[in-house]
Amino acid sequence: MNWSNVKLVCHRELRDQWRDRRTMFTTLVLPLITYPIMGLILVQVAQFVSEHSSKVDVYGAHFLEGHDPALLDGERNSQISFADPLSEADPRTKHKIGLLEIKRALVSPDDWTLDAVKDNATHKIEAKEIDAALVIPPGLGKYLDRLINEAEHLGGVADSTAPPLDDEVIAPYVISNSVTDRSRLAGERLEDVLHIWHGMLVDKYFETGQIPKQLADPFQIDQIDIAPVESKSAAFWARIIPFMLLMWTLTGAFYPAIDLCAGEKERGTLETLLVGAASRLEIVGGKLLTVMVFSMLISIFNIVSIWLTSSFVASKLPLGDEFGGIPLMAMVWATAIVIPLAALFSALSLTAATFARSTKEGQYYLMPLIFLCMPLMMVSMMPNIELDLGNAMVPVCGAALLLRELVQGNMDTAFRYAVPVIGVTLFCCYLSIRWATAQFNDESVLFRESEKWNFRLWIKHIYRYRKSLPTAAAAVGFGVLLLSIRFAVMFSAGLPEQWSSFASKQSITMILSIGLPPILFALWLSRDWRQTLKLNLPGKNSLALLVLAALIPLLLQPLMVYVQTFIQWLYPVNAASGAGLEQITVMFEQASWWSALFVMAVLPAVCEELAFRGFMLSGLQTESKPWSSIFITAAFFGLAHGMLQQSLNAFLVGILIGYLVVRTNSLWVGVVYHFVHNGFTVLLTYIGTPKGDGDTSLTDSPIGFLFESTDESGDMYKPVVSVIAILIAIICIGLFHKLSVVNDEPEQLVLDSSHN
């Protein structure tokens, strides 16, 4: 690759975008002005709400006349106000009382029922005549006087013959509408004032009754928060920033990518560029760098703008410590982490945009991309998800969590997982770039004509013009369909408690959802279903190859146990999945060894091999390199297992089986391997002796000399046994490679000869 050409293409594209005023405005200027405007509006609204006075009607103010401590001041039929001592209690309450415009509500004594007053106040609030109402019920004054008497009685001041208090409590009411901001605010202000008055009443009762106040309120819980003020603010922003940054990086990459690829097709300039001296890879490189620059600039501009706005808003509004401005270090980390993410999203966007024929079509591809990435981006906002090695290995999700840790200032955790996160991101980035380059090399993508796609015509087309083997697109489509069926079955069917019903259900679903589809698809989408499903023997050295295919999984058992233990350490099984596995283990005790072997080994070996190493692998091999086909098939095979821990294990096994099948072009090798792999695990549970806790001990079994007991992982293969077995397995694989030399170029077997 000539880097000066990459630089030239990038420079040209950047200049082109720079001169496009609309792009510059929407990507760079708009974020700089949008957030400050939003912040200003927020401050204005908040100030308006906090300074706006509330109109309140007080019903039954005269029922409290002469009561001490007073709630209201003012003679009967004259203007009323809240009593002065209330204002003196607390400066904040004084401010609130100042914002409450209260007046006496006039209700004739005949209408003085609570329902009538409530209806009257509701009508006035709905008509916006008042914001809230305070209702003093008729008996409140007398009730409070009774409480004073009771206090005096307790303090020995009053007559000891006073009647005892009954259970009836009379309380004032606040009527407001919580849906309307003004009314809700008025209600809250009234409640605060009443709360102060309530406190004053309690103080007076305790004083009169000569009761120490500690008896009612022995202590108040005092929380000492050791978090520095800036950390509190960081914790809040640590949840928000990763999501926002990732969203801006993705959307910031997408629109320039559409303009640079689909837009070029539309304007006819792509052909101009393709006939120039730059190679496709150089063109992709130049365009990728341009998109990356825009993606980074847009996300950083947005974050800077949010930073400035948040600092401004935090200084103007009393939001509390945790809602302060974004800490400066958070900004620095956000800027650093945006680089690999921008590269990843730019490459993905470029691929989607290259496929599009027009800018309009390109925009249709944005939504699926966002929906795909959104759940991974949102993890930073979820409280229970922590950054660990498992999460670090998940693309986008790891980056979001890493950024959260960095913003929070948890440097130890962040640096521990920075390498896997950045490694995974860069690996995905590499794959995306390769994909984008492949799209640029694909003339059917570059010169796609704008014919209308017709589903019926397409179905007819793939049947009528099917070749001896299915296409790669058919293979991937089949894989997606298979996964959809598998998940639908998995979620719709519960786990039976009896082995017999489990076995019959498992057998039927395995045959119908995994075994039958590849046969039907091979008949529909290929002319040679036998060759598609690879139903031939390995050819020369058949017997030896089949024996080796049976031997290798046996020898690799110790390695698989270690791998499984490692995977479970990386991703511990959650409680629900653990309970499900436990239930299956219990059911196993009811099963005979041959029925367990049939359901757990024979059926999966035949059905899953037909689907994955049969139909899917054959289809993929027609257009992809053998190793790519093997990896893609193994990924689908892994996903079909549903549970993450099993999926990773199945993915690794799938790679090995895929390799053996590609070497021999025979499904039987895969079936034998798969059967022995599953079958041996099943048989081990029957060979072991029961320990009484539902588990079995292998150390006391006839093959106990191979195992040793460990505290952490139960029975494990002895290290020496493991090493020897793995070494022999490697030799066997080497032997297999040598013996299967006849089919050294398996892709040639699947080339269609219709052009010749």
């Binding site: 000066s4 050409n5 030239l8 293409v9 040209r12 200049r15 082109d16 001169r19 496009d20 304007r267 006819g268 300039t269 052909e271 101009t272 393709l274 006939v275 120039g276 001296a277 730059a278 190679s279 003339e443 059917s444 570059l446 010169f447 014919e451 796609w453 017709n454 015509l457 397409w458 087309h461 009528r464 013009y465 052009h755």
Partner: protein, 260 residues
């Protein structure tokens, strides 16, 4: 020099499975020659020219440009070729000078050589009046001149014009034809695809007439007129296509099929 041997090209097609756009085409074009590629729309001319310029890969056969194979040595081919078509658009937000400079640098010209070539090309194509005008503000004729300048900035020995006069007014089209004549005088090997007979008569000595991916006739214009007894190229063109269609129809209803 361009050598095309047994060239075939298949495209996938939703209705027919695949379409053979080029059916075993062979021809050669020499330096100092304008080789005409004639044919109606859909004849396969653009596919052939896109293969020659390395934008598409052939399904079968071999194509070499100045001795370089279009599949194996595509980079060398692109450095030896200049491609102009009515599809190759210009950049709206670049000036004429910037566009030509950009492609010159992509071809690896040194700054000194690039400036030298720019002066020559801008003089030759009379482009100095609009060298700083943005692509979006140019007329069609100006745009086509920039397109040619971009294609010849590296002084390639081979030039391909794919229906380059389509959409141009008479004056600009004539000017373009004259320019192509000048390139021929400079000893360049030129392929000129069009469906305007007059342009072919004016520029080309040898032509290939294409129809539905096949070559119906190839050779010297005079010789073709004599063989097919048609003085007028347009009449010759119609005769060849009519004969081909008639032959195809008669083959479609063959005696064997009638028996069935």
């Amino acid at each position: 020099m361009i050598v095309v041997r047994d060239l075939t090209k298949f495209y996938p097609d939703l209705q027919q499975g695949e379409i053979q756009a080029v059916k075993g085409l062979s021809f050669q074009a020499q330096p100092g020659e304008v080789y005409g590629l004639l044919g109606p729309n859909g004849a396969g001319k653009t596919t052939v020219l896109r293969i020659i310029s390395t934008m598409l890969k052939p399904t079968g056969g071999q194509v070499t440009v100045n001795g370089f194979d279009v599949v194996e040595q595509s980079y060398d081919v692109r450095r030896n070729i200049g491609f102009v078509s009515n599809n190759t658009g210009g950049y709206d937000r670049m000036t004429a000078l910037e566009m030509v400079e950009f492609f010159g640098r992509l071809y690896g010209l040194s700054e000194e050589r690039l400036q030298e070539r720019i002066e020559i090309v801008f003089d030759q194509l009379h482009m100095n009046g609009f060298r700083d005008r943005l692509g979006g503000k140019m007329s069609t004729g100006m745009g086509q001149k920039v397109s040619i300048a971009r294609a010849i900035i590296h002084d390639p020995p081979v030039l391909v014009f794919d229906e380059a006069t389509v959409g141009l007014d008479v004056l600009v089209a004539r000017s373009l034809v004259e320019t192509i004549g000048e390139f021929q005088e400079q000893g360049k090997c030129i392929i000129f695809s069009t469906h305007h007979m007059r342009e072919v008569e004016r520029l080309c000595e040898r032509v290939a007439i294409m129809y539905e991916g096949s070559m119906l006739a190839e050779g010297n214009l005079k010789e073709l007129s004599e063989i097919h007894e048609q003085d007028d190229l347009e009449d010759l063109f119609f005769d060849l296509i009519s004969n081909y269609d008639r032959k195809k129809e008669s083959e479609a209803i063959s005696p064997e099929e009638m028996d069935v």
